[in-house]
């Protein structure tokens, strides 16, 4: 997997360390991302104040030792909000990606395998989905499903599943024409087991690539939906929503918008860098290059 220049090192932990040294930036971002994940996992156990608790007596306080990131217009602790928000955002992003894949993979499988008018039908449906520029469909679907983060997640997942369906479908088409699949069919192996044993393993890789790229976008999209009021609703604590609720005060009280916004940015940034870094190191064309 790793560049041949490391082949002289014995074990894979040693190789990983050597790779990390060469790719310091990616490693730093991976560390950053891990911290965010850690925060998300440990949020309820850190003894933080309730992020949704409204208390007007402490509203709009500057960042201090009492409130590391200050408080917002309703007196909610922003640091706690950011940490709990990590939990929400990461879960939501995972949810979006998994759902989109879960819907798209079976459809792609059926479409590619069955061929004929079923395939054409699904392809035209996906064309319709792809005729919408990025945010338009999630907004419309979100309005249809109603407010709430779960509905927003579904809305985005439904908007994105055609990508996954297409990826799987093209893998199916490639594998279908492979000789070993034809011989399997010739001896009467049922299509389901062919799908499971031959098609899925081959097509999983591009799906994983797409999913990892989509992860960051999922965070951005759901936060954007929350920002315009179509995603998370109070008392849910979500980064986009936090920025939205700061809109009336952010000019004088910068911390109300800065910290949740930065949180989104850093999370997506780290995630993208890590994904790119892993992809580059697995790319045989780039091996041995600085």
């Amino acid at each position: 997997m790793l560049s041949p220049t490391f082949s002289h090192l014995s074990s894979w932990p040693a190789r990983y360390v050597a790779w990390s040294r060469r790719n310091i930036f990616v490693t730093m971002c991976a560390t950053g991302f891990s911290l965010i994940v850690l925060a998300a996992l440990l949020a309820p156990f850190l003894g933080l104040p309730d992020p949704a608790k409204i208390d007007f007596s402490v509203k709009l306080l500057r960042p201090s030792s009492m409130h590391w990131f200050g408080t917002d217009a309703l007196g909610r602790d922003i640091f706690s909000g950011v940490v709990h928000g990590a939990r929400i955002s990461l879960l939501v992003a995972l949810g979006v990606v998994f759902m989109a894949a879960a819907i798209g993979i079976p459809i792609g499988l059926i479409s590619g395998y069955a061929g004929g008018w079923i395939d054409t039908f699904f392809m035209r449906i996906s064309d319709i989905f792809l005729a919408f520029p990025p945010l338009l469909l999630p907004i419309t679907l979100s309005a249809l499903l109603g407010p709430g983060l779960f509905n927003a997640t579904c809305a985005v997942a439904i908007s994105w599943f055609p990508w996954y369906a297409r990826i799987i479908r093209s893998s199916v088409l490639t594998v279908k024409s492979e000789l070993y699949v034809q011989s399997a069919r010739a001896i009467g192996t049922n299509p389901f087991s062919i799908a499971m044993r031959h098609v899925l393993p081959n097509s999983l890789s591009p799906v994983v690539v797409q999913a990892s790229l989509d992860f960051g976008f999922a965070i951005l999209t759901t936060a954007s939906l929350s920002f315009i009021g179509m995603g998370a609703v109070p008392p849910t604590v979500e980064w986009g929503l936090m920025v939205a609720s700061s809109r009336s005060v952010f000019l004088e009280y910068w911390w109300t918008a800065m910290f949740p916004g930065l949180a989104i940015f850093l999370t997506v940034f780290f995630a993208n860098v890590v994904v790119d870094g892993v992809r580059d190191s697995l790319d045989p064309k780039l091996r041995g290059q600085p």
């Binding site: 035209r124 449906i125 064309d127 319709i128 005729a131 919408f132 520029p133 990025p134 945010l135 338009l136 907004i139 419309t140 679907l141 309005a143 249809l144 109603g146 960051g216 951005l220 936060a223 954007s224 920002f227 315009i228 009021g229 179509m230 986009g240 920025v243 939205a244 700061s246 809109r247 952010f250 000019l251 004088e252 910068w254 918008a257 800065m258 916004g261 930065l262 989104i264 940015f265 997506v268 940034f269 993208n272 860098v273 790119d276 600085p290």
Partner: protein, 337 residues
């Protein structure tokens, strides 16, 4: 090529029909009935059923769909339930506001992104390249609304140089009204020598344009760099250098054309993305564009407006994609006309 174009156009019409159907069915499933909204608070049951009959909402869905297509074919997009004005009129107005914003953003994104991307590919792994790659990754990771807020904080809140929201100050519009030629305030005010309006429109355009531009800039930077790097590694560029081509000629002539052909596709697609992506920017800056219109219509369940605007945006988006694909025929000599 003509055959290909015709086939694609036919396909596009089919897809648009599909979009219309899809959106229509969706809109009928919207939770709160638009009728109640239209009639105001606490309508009686009689009033509701009468209104439904008037709007044709009591008919089977298929029939409603048919009627809608019939109206569409006549160019009637219906009346907005929220404002009472013809949807098509509202869309027209809003569209030019968005178009001005998006076009300017794209100009900037390409004007900055293309040269930087070329430099980045030419001087790989030097500081220019690292800066560019950092910009590219950041640009895609920054949430649009956060960037907008940061810019507002800095240039309005902190420095006071630029306005917070809106397309033009109403005072300026009243004192120096702008004649409509193109719908673009910048062009229209220039054409009639209206410098006050021009300056005012320009300062209002600045922040939203910068906000919208960043993500596209990042994409163009990255794509240019990757495409140019690939081209610079080809045999034919090696041949050119072997015959004494200077660095400048190589980067800006010989390698540029092969890069531009796929790059123009990406730029076209970016333009399409921006049409939809302007939603957030328009909401944040109170920009009277089509993105904000979508949100307003969807939130108030104004389904003629939702239908109309979805159709228009999708058609535009598909047309841009088609136009960009057809560009290949013109630009790539290997594809025969």
């Amino acid at each position: 090529m003509l055959g290909y174009l015709l086939r694609r156009l036919a396909m596009m019409c089919l897809i648009i029909l599909g979009v219309a159907t899809f959106t229509f069915v969706l809109s009928r499933a919207l939770p709160s009935s638009p009728v109640e909204m239209m009639l105001g608070s606490k309508p009686t049951a009689d009033q509701i059923s009468q209104a439904r009959e008037e709007l044709g909402l009591d008919q089977p869905v298929a029939e409603q769909l048919g009627r809608y297509f019939f109206q569409l074919a006549q160019g009637r997009f219906g009346t907005s339930m929220r404002t009472g004005r013809p949807v098509i009129e509202e869309i027209g107005q809003r569209l030019s506001a968005t178009a001005e914003l998006v076009t300017l953003s794209l100009f900037l994104a390409v004007g900055l992104g293309l040269p930087l991307g070329i430099l980045s590919a030419a001087y790989r792994n030097r500081w220019v390249d690292h800066l560019t790659r950092m910009l590219a990754v950041s640009g895609v990771a920054v949430p649009v609304f956060f960037l907008g807020i940061l810019l507002q904080m800095t240039f309005y809140g902190g420095l006071g140089w630029l306005p917070l929201q809106g397309r033009i100050d109403s005072i300026v519009m009243l004192d120096h009204p702008v004649q409509t030629f193109s719908g673009f305030l910048l062009i229209d005010s220039l054409l009639s020598g209206n410098t006050a309006a021009f300056k005012n429109a320009l300062i209002h355009l600045t922040l939203p344009t910068l906000t919208l531009m960043l993500a596209s800039l990042a994409t163009i930077l990255r794509s240019t760099r990757n495409l140019m790097t690939d081209v610079l590694g080809t045999d034919y560029i090696r041949t050119a250098r072997a015959y004494g081509a200077t660095r400048r000629t190589t980067y800006f002539v010989l390698a540029l054309k092969p890069t531009l052909v796929p790059l123009l596709t990406i730029i076209g697609l970016t333009y399409g993305f921006m049409l939809g992506g302007s939603v957030i920017t328009e909401v944040l800056f109170d920009w009277p564009g089509i993105g904000a219109y979508v949100v307003e219509s969807v939130v108030t369940n104004d389904f003629p407006a939702v239908l109309g605007v979805t159709l228009v945006i999708s058609t535009l988006y598909l047309s841009i994609n088609l136009a960009v694909d057809m560009l290949y025929f013109v630009l790539d000599p290997r594809i025969s006309v």
